[in-house]
Amino acid sequence: MANICTQIAGLQLRNPVLTASGTFGYGTEFADLINLADLGGIIVKGTTLHPREGNDYPRMTETPSGMLNCVGLHNKGVEHFCQHIYPKIKELPTRVIVNVSGSTIEDYAACAARIDALDRIPAIELNISCPNVRQGGMAFGVTCEGAASVVRAVREVYHKTLIVKLSPNVTNIAEIAQTVEDAGADAVSLINTLLGMAIDIERRCPRLSLATGGLSGPAIRPVAVRCVWQVAKAVRIPVIGLGGIMNADDAIEFFMAGASAIEVGTANFIDPTASVRIAKGINDWLDSHGCHSLQEIVGCVS
């Protein structure tokens, strides 16, 4: 068995497979179907300082090899998370990481500070790339100044592993990655969804309530692999890759492009066991190719 233990800054993972925020609930929704101990970790739903109702229905439409969503950070707020969800998930047999989002820099910092106090949450993923909210979200992640200001503010109050999730809806993602590295990020994860749109031609209206939404699924995988490859060459901090990973071969592409770990997202909707299947598949691939550790292939494609 190859060694697939993974380290993302101070965060030790049993294997390099995480579940992407917003695609795996709080993990408990999948507990009947998989052994959560087989995962590297779970990144729970985007959490904000205040409760958010999210956007109106319809929030989702199927597209070629993917889907568009405009959920809009629907969640009950960080206080609800701390009081009612954290007690249920803190004993899960895997790492639990919280995805943190916000409308203002102050909100991001206050939410992160609240989660800093939770013993069993070793890391946060800072979402500066949600395309489905009118204020904040992606607005911070598409400029170097915006990204740096959020990351700096959160770094001041958050003392554990800080992962920053990047948007692909930018001209130069490597530049943004370097900026958040300089601002104190311990790792970056990429890519969030690509901004897209679909139209119902019979009703002559957008298929999503917000008109636009985030595209995910295998349709975006080549874009994601390219982004990971560009960012991994530009920064010294670890890169977590995601975007349309459906199987172990897809994951291997991301490792070769320079990712130290990966996230499985939309695949969870089609196959709720996808994440553990991929974790096992990575191991099998390494064994069958004579690799003793995952490290041997990380960034091997220059």
Partner: protein, 256 residues
């Protein structure tokens, strides 16, 4: 408890040019416990244009033959691919999902089950359940034409069946809310599944008549597990997932 199982297709009955009855069995194990009104998510193989699973109501559970029945309307590429399944094919099914219809409230209660088009699907299993628990289901099925009335004989096994068609080719002409049974009989409560305008009309009738009423929604969904938060319905508690808080809702909880 939820399961992900590979079922074998035992029969594909073509009921009319748009609807099929898919009969499935699990060769390896008994079917899990399912409440009437719950649904499944099936994986659609062999369809290039589709990606997500398809949510389908549990139409009937045949414990004797260990069969799960699904009623499918061909509306797009995914459902057309399901209609092309052959006996012996495998279908990956996630089940059972959602909450289901209310249990029997009192022996002998008269429950009006109103279905429109393919929305009749969950009412067969619910009708069977009510019969088995000493309640009386009365079916009111609406469709566009005679050909669109699904599973009539099977519904008749469990209770009186009344029909409306828009063209009058079977039963009374018009919509379900215009059927004379609503004037000529009394009911203790109503359960509805069908197109949203029909369910809203029945909900309005129930409110006017002071009858408890529950409706089964079919919002577009991805995961079926409460993870993606795509299938939300606006309720008095805010946006909630139809897949986990529903698909069955009491109309008093909705903002209709």
């Amino acid at each position: 408890m939820k399961y992900l199982r590979n079922f074998t297709v035992t029969a594909v009955e073509h009921l009319n040019p748009r609807n099929i009855l898919l009969r499935l069995t699990d060769p390896a194990a008994p079917l899990p416990d399912c409440h009437p009104g719950q649904f499944v998510e099936v994986k659609v193989d062999g369809s290039d244009k589709t990606f997500l699973r398809r949510p389908l109501s549990i139409h009937f559970v045949d414990r004797v033959n260990n069969e799960l029945w699904l009623l499918v309307q061909m509306v797009g590429d995914g459902t057309r691919a399901l209609a092309n399944l052959q006996t012996g094919n495998t279908l990956n099914v996630l089940l059972p999902l959602g909450n289901g219809f209310s249990p029997v409230q009192q022996q002998g209660e008269r429950v009006l089950l109103v279905g429109g088009g393919v929305g009749v699907a969950p009412l067969l299993e619910y009708g069977k359940y009510l019969c088995e628990h000493h309640a009386t289901p009365i079916f009111l099925l609406g469709a566009r034409t005679r050909e669109d009335v699904l599973q009539l004989d099977r519904f008749k096994q469990y209770g009186e069946v009344y029909v409306t068609t828009e063209d009058g080719s079977l039963g009374e002409q018009g919509f379900v809310t215009q059927h004379s049974i609503l004037q000529n009989s009394t009911f203790d409560r109503i359960s509805v599944c069908g197109p949203k305008p029909m369910m809203q009309a029945v909900a309005q009738y129930a409110r006017k008549s002071n009858l408890p009423c529950e409706v089964s929604l079919e919002n577009l969904m991805a995961c079926g597990l409460g993870a993606c938060l795509c299938c939300v319905e606006k309720t008095k508690k805010g946006n909630v997932c139809v897949c986990t808080d529903g698909p069955v809702f009491n109309i008093n909880d909705l903002t209709w």
